[in-house]
């Protein structure tokens, strides 16, 4: 278990220091910023009634998070898939597996580290997105909060607008 945690900590440390993560964070902030602008425009447009706006905001948020889940899955694959093969090829892993560790511990540690990192990233992005939606749709906090609470359950979210009327 100790070896697994050691490899997990190593995986997180290395990932955090990679420029790839910095690029991810930068792009994420940009996208969340753009979505905030979009939600603000949606809320303040004169072409929608307040009811239509209440309908559009949660739907747009659901769409955004749905797309984000795809991006997250692809990013996870992109980060995780070469993590072991590249270390085998470069020889980095050679020095690890000659230590008193099982190969399963190395695999588990890699998985745990990447899973922790991605879960943290997903939680951070969700919190950020929910925060900006709340700020961008401040006219009626109740409605925006309502929209946010529907996000983890897209099916319910799609039914929700009918319920609001």
């Amino acid at each position: 278990m100790n070896a697994t945690l050691t490899i997990a900590a190593l995986t997180i440390t290395e990932a955090v220091r990679r420029r790839l993560l910095l690029a991810f964070v930068t792009i994420t902030v940009l996208i969340v910023g753009l979505s905030a602008w979009g939600f603000d425009r949606l809320r303040h447009t004169n072409t929608l009634t307040s009811g239509e706006s209440n309908l559009a905001v949660p739907q747009a948020l659901i769409l955004f998070m749905f797309m984000f889940s795809f991006v997250l899955a692809l990013s996870a694959s992109a980060i995780a898939s070469p993590s072991i093969s590249s270390e085998v090829e470069s020889g980095v892993l050679m020095t690890i597996v000659t230590r008193p560790v099982r190969r399963t511990e190395v695999l588990l540690g890699k998985w745990l580290g990447l899973a922790t990192l991605l879960a943290g990233y997903a939680a951070g992005v969700c919190a950020l997105e929910f925060g900006v939606v709340r700020l961008a749709s401040v006219k009626d906090h109740g409605n925006s909060s309502h929209a946010i609470t529907e996000i983890p359950h897209p099916g319910r979210g799609l039914r929700a607008p009918g319920g609001w009327r």
Partner: protein, 340 residues
């Protein structure tokens, strides 16, 4: 493969492919941890008929050798001879297809035995985003060393390999030579009983090579066994107590340098005042040949050099030079490989 906890080697697994047997269980972990007689008196490495086959290619062919504790053992051979494959087998990174082997009295791949093995791979690469100290700390953790010792172990290793001032720099900024030094430092962590060095000076300059030789001598002084895998024969001549020469996966010569080279003394003579007739008498001392003004006698017994010189003088010769030469390991190596 099955595994038992018996204190003795108990099980042999029949290898389906070659028909040879592979040792699969052996010394219990506790015996190694507690430094039992078996753990401290068994050879550092013992192989009997160790073999590794990759499809149609035989990488290691029935290799039998013993490396005693505390000696510096040179494992020599040309490129592609199977040296690195043997190292991988001994470290448990690859499974043998035949034969038996014990490392520090334990079967191949034993986790507790690996705790006492330091290894510098031929393709040394360390986490480029970590600092040298972080890499050493990582290996201290993986070795299970007490946390209180990590800093001192790291500092000591960096000092030994002359990287103390670069300890806080990322490995990615290191030159190849510095990475190899770091790898050597990693191999020294935890005062290992067995240090396996695979071409440890391949990226080093002459100063670095000299330093590595000194480190190897230091390891021998403190009682560690060093398994030096190299094709640099000069390196082996400087530091090794015994060597094995391997070719096409098979050991073609094993022994101390004296044993390997002792029977190959050569004498170079410069004698004036004697006719051609005296040469015929040289056959008793060894094979002779002329090289311009020099006469070279191969295979002469060093104890008979004085007798030869005395005979030449008694025949009226003026002996201007007598130069005993030992055959270099390289010459012997080439001779064994039939490339000469």
């Amino acid at each position: 493969m099955s595994r038992t906890n018996s204190a003795e080697r108990t099980a042999v697994d029949a290898d389906a492919q070659s028909g040879a047997s592979v040792l699969v269980s052996g010394t219990s972990r506790s015996s190694l941890e507690e430094g039992s007689p078996q753990a401290t008196t068994s050879p550092a490495i013992h192989t009997v008929g160790l073999s590794k086959r990759f499809d149609d290619t035989i990488a290691v062919n029935s290799l039998s050798m013993t490396v005693q504790r505390g000696e510096v053992f040179g494992f020599l051979g040309p490129n592609g001879a199977g040296k690195t494959t043997v190292v991988k087998l001994l470290l448990g990174l690859a499974r043998p297809t035949g034969g038996e082997a014990l490392v520090l009295g334990a079967p191949l791949g034993d986790r507790e035995a690996r705790r006492q093995i330091g290894y510098l791979p031929e393709l040394f690469r360390y986490q480029p985003l970590l600092t040298a100290r972080e890499v050493l700390r990582l290996h201290c953790r993986l070795l299970g060393l007490p946390k209180a010792t990590w800093e001192e172990e790291g500092r000591s290793a960096l000092e030994t390999v002359d990287l103390l001032e670069r300890g806080h720099d990322r490995v990615g900024t290191f030159s190849k030579g510095m990475q190899q030094r770091l790898g050597l430092g990693v191999a020294l962590l935890g005062n290992p009983a067995l240090v396996m060095l695979d071409e440890p000076t391949s990226a080093l300059d002459p100063v670095g090579r000299h330093d590595v030789r000194e480190i190897i001598r230091g390891l021998r002084e403190r009682g560690s066994t060093v398994f030096l895998n190299t094709h640099l024969l000069e390196e082996a001549e400087y530091v090794c107590d015994r060597v094995a020469i391997i070719d096409r996966g098979r050991a073609i010569a094993t022994g101390s340098l004296d044993e390997l080279l002792g029977g190959h003394s050569r004498l170079r003579l410069k004698v004036e005042g004697l006719g051609e007739s005296w040469w015929s008498g040289l056959g008793r001392f060894g094979q002779w040949r002329r090289e311009e003004e020099w006469t070279v006698v191969d295979g002469i017994d060093p104890s008979r050099i004085a007798e030869l010189v005395g005979e030449l003088v008694s025949l009226g010769g003026q002996v201007e030079a007598v130069i005993p030469e030992h055959q270099s390991l390289e010459a012997h190596f080439l001779e064994l490989l039939g490339e000469r």
